[in-house]
């Protein structure tokens, strides 16, 4: 559903033709698109710059320790070894950390979408009221506060509130995502006509019902986008869990993996194996949702 001038032009030609002449044969409307090979090649070359670092990470993860430190990053693993993965698995207690991280991230995504979407709706529909307008600016301004300013007080406050655990991290992740998510949602909401809600109201629906049954489903494309950003911010976050979570048995994956990042350790195969194990779910999630996001974006945008 992207912009495809070629096909569009075809349609126009067909209609013009229809105005005064016999219609063109049907097959002209199904003429195969001409692809731009030069464009494809250029883009493909650019894509290589993305794949090279990924390739290095992948091959190193499957090398033996001896081969990993031999300085030849581009060589293929020989012998092929899963030692790195085994050791990373054990050293980081992978299953537990993975589960915790997944729960935190999932909750962050859900919480962000829910809270930010309703708040944005309220703001967008009451723009002429000071409280709502100022709330928007207030939420946005917080995007610019550097994290170190907040870090230590947040540590103390979460400690006091009994939130020095993954739940506290989830809560903070959601709050940190609010600014950007509200920005995105409000921008998107401007393209949803008031008439829809008004006709629902005429039919007797309350604002609550109108929102959940009508607006929220329409927000799906932006929810997907907000969700992806929230997912990435939460999944890869190291700073906050390392500061907020007290109990080491409840730590998230990035923190647990940080033992590989000290200056004194060069277990490249183990550390890259660990990074891969953390990266893989994120990539998988992304692969599944990106289709949805793209489709949603196109459907949502080209309408009206």
């Amino acid at each position: 559903m992207s912009v495809q001038p070629a096909l569009v032009v075809e349609t126009v030609e067909a209609t013009e033709v229809l105005e005064g002449y016999a219609p063109k044969p049907a097959r002209s409307r199904f003429r195969v698109e001409r692809f731009s090979w030069s464009g494809t090649i250029i883009i493909a070359l650019c894509a290589i710059t993305v794949l090279i670092p990924l390739y290095v990470t992948l091959t190193t993860a499957f090398k033996t320790q001896a081969q990993a430190v031999d300085g030849n990053a581009f060589s293929l693993p020989a012998p092929f070894s899963v030692d790195g993965f085994v050791e990373a698995w054990n050293l980081t207690n992978f299953p537990l950390a993975f589960t915790i991280t997944t729960l935190v991230t999932a909750a962050t995504v859900a919480g962000t979408i829910l809270l930010a979407s309703v708040a944005s709706f309220a703001i967008a529909r009451n723009w002429d009221h000071k409280l709502f307008r100022w709330s928007f600016y207030y939420l946005l301004m917080a995007m610019f506060i550097p994290f170190p300013v907040l870090a230590l007080p947040q540590i103390q406050l979460t400690g006091l509130a009994g939130l020095d655990n993954p739940a506290g991290v989830t809560f903070l992740h959601i709050m940190f995502q609010m600014s950007f998510s509200v920005l995105l949602f409000t921008a998107f909401l401007r393209s949803i006509p008031l008439e829809l809600e008004e006709s629902a109201r005429i039919d007797g629906a309350s604002t609550w019902q109108a929102y959940w049954q009508l607006i929220f489903p329409l927000l799906a494309p932006m929810s997907a986008t907000v969700g992806i950003f929230a997912f990435l911010a939460s999944w890869n976050d190291f700073m906050m869990p390392s500061l907020i979570i007290s109990d080491p048995g409840q730590q998230t994956l990035p923190v647990v993996q940080s033992i590989f990042q000290t200056q004194f350790s060069n277990n490249y195969n183990v550390s890259f194996a660990s990074y891969l194990m953390a990266m893989a779910p994120a990539i998988v999630v992304y692969l599944f949702t990106q289709r949805w996001v793209m489709e949603g974006m196109t459907q949502g945008a080209v309408k009206g």
Partner: protein
């Protein structure tokens, strides 16, 4: 109307609810009591040295199996500052002891361990090292567990091949350097890409070879804001000579691609025999062994003067034990500490990690790679790295990296003085 609405009478439903709550409370408290009374006390043990983690994991498993009162849980990644701030730091820490840790100690965050029998077994000179950073009056807050001694690592085979002896004076060092260069061998392998290697090796060894580090920093701390070009001691005054020599040495006697080589590259290259000497600590031996396990290596202190009596080795307290005041499990933590400090446990650890023992009956070091430093250690001819006494907020390692890359020595040192004075002003 009766019969229309089938609602339990308020009386009955209240009683039902109350019963449910009571039952839950009973169950809950029983469970809690079970957990409290029957279960072992949990001790959170912080250890973040990656090489040591597998070793201590086993040790902890053994300890937990051997008794039922204390259960030790290994923590490898907690943020200390966060823990102290919240009031729930680990119960027992076994960490590198440095300026940053000293900050906690200075403010009384660590409990007194002086009454423990283990405290009496520590070598007095090693305990002094702890005090060099800061003290908390009346307490022995930290018990050193393992000391790493570092100096110049040299490749014995290359030295032999070129008929060279270990230099003990600065002049001999220059001769060795020249001889190696003439023979086409890189004398030192530099890894300037990683600033910490410059600080730990080049800066620390050269400066401490000529300067009394402890006395210098004592005076610097006293002078505080008055440090400058005219003060009695200062970086630009006291360190000018050694740092200039450091720059000369790094210019003349290292590999040309040092600026783009890091710690990992250095280990690899040295293991492959690309240079004769390497300014690194014993932690590098493990890495080097990954490539060349049979390489014959030895160590000697870097001579900076022509007086062999000035030779000293760089030490740092690689692992030291402490128990925070805020811990609720001090007794249990102490039990585990005693277990860790058993002599054979300490000896085994130090032997495996190439560390030096901190106790009076510590087993003597025998590994050929580090035995060259033994006499200096035994005579307490050691120092803690000058770079370690500079708070991290003054990027000394980066400054030194600039120097070996060619920056002007005087300018850099005067910048350090200005930074020091400014820091003293706001603290």
């Amino acid at each position: 109307m009766e019969g229309d609405i089938d609602v339990p009478s308020p009386d009955r439903s209240f009683r039902r609810r109350a019963a449910a709550v009571l039952a839950l409370a009973l169950i809950g408290s029983t469970l809690g009591a079970c957990a409290g009374a029957g279960g072992p006390e949990q001790v959170r043990f912080l250890l973040s040295k990656p090489e040591a983690i597998p070793y201590f994991r086993e040790l902890i498993a053994e300890y937990n199996d051997s008794q039922n009162e204390v259960e030790v849980v290994l923590d490898t990644a907690s943020n200390l500052q966060a823990g102290f701030l919240r009031g729930n730091p680990p119960d027992l820490g076994l960490l590198n002891y440095n300026l940053e840790m000293a900050r906690f100690m200075e403010r009384g965050a660590l409990s007194d361990l002086g009454d423990m029998p283990e405290a009496d077994r520590i070598l007095p000179e090693v305990q002094d090292l702890v005090d060099q950073y800061a003290t908390y009056p009346g307490r022995t807050s930290v018990l050193p567990y393992s000391v790493m001694a570092a100096s110049v690592i040299y490749n014995k085979e290359i030295f032999e091949a070129n008929d060279l002896e270990v230099p003990t004076t600065a002049d001999e060092l220059v001769e060795v350097c020249e001889a190696l260069t003439d023979a086409g061998v890189t004398p030192f392998y530099g890894t300037y890409k990683d600033p910490w290697t410059v600080a730990q090796g080049w800066f620390d060894y050269t400066v401490a070879g000529m300067v009394d580090v402890e006395a210098f920093y004592d005076q610097m701390r006293e002078l505080g804001t008055e440090v400058g070009p005219d003060s009695e001691v200062s970086f630009q005054k006291t360190f000018a000579e050694p740092v200039t020599l450091m720059q000369q040495l790094s210019d003349a006697c290292t590999n040309a691609d040092a600026p783009s080589k890091g710690y990992g590259d250095g280990n690899l290259a040295f293991a492959q025999g690309e240079a004769a000497m390497y300014l690194q600590g014993p932690w590098a031996f493990g890495e080097i062994a990954k490539t060349s396990p049979d390489l014959e290596l030895g160590t000697f202190p870097l001579p900076m003067t022509n007086n062999p009596d000035d030779l000293k080795v760089r030490v740092n307290i690689d692992l030291a034990a402490w128990i925070p005041e805020a811990s609720d499990h001090k007794e249990a933590a102490r039990q585990f500490l005693s277990y860790l400090f058993q002599q054979d446990v300490m000896d085994e650890y130090n032997a495996a990690q190439l560390g030096y023992g901190t106790t009076t009956e510590a087993a003597p070091v025998t590994d050929p790679r580090i035995v060259g430093m033994k006499e200096y250690y035994d005579d307490a001819k050691f120092y803690q790295g000058p770079s370690q006494e500079i708070p991290l907020t003054i990027p000394a390692a980066n400054y030194m990296q600039g120097v070996v890359l060619g920056n002007d020595v005087e300018t850099t040192l005067s910048i350090m003085d200005a930074d020091w004075a400014r820091l003293a002003l706001r603290q």
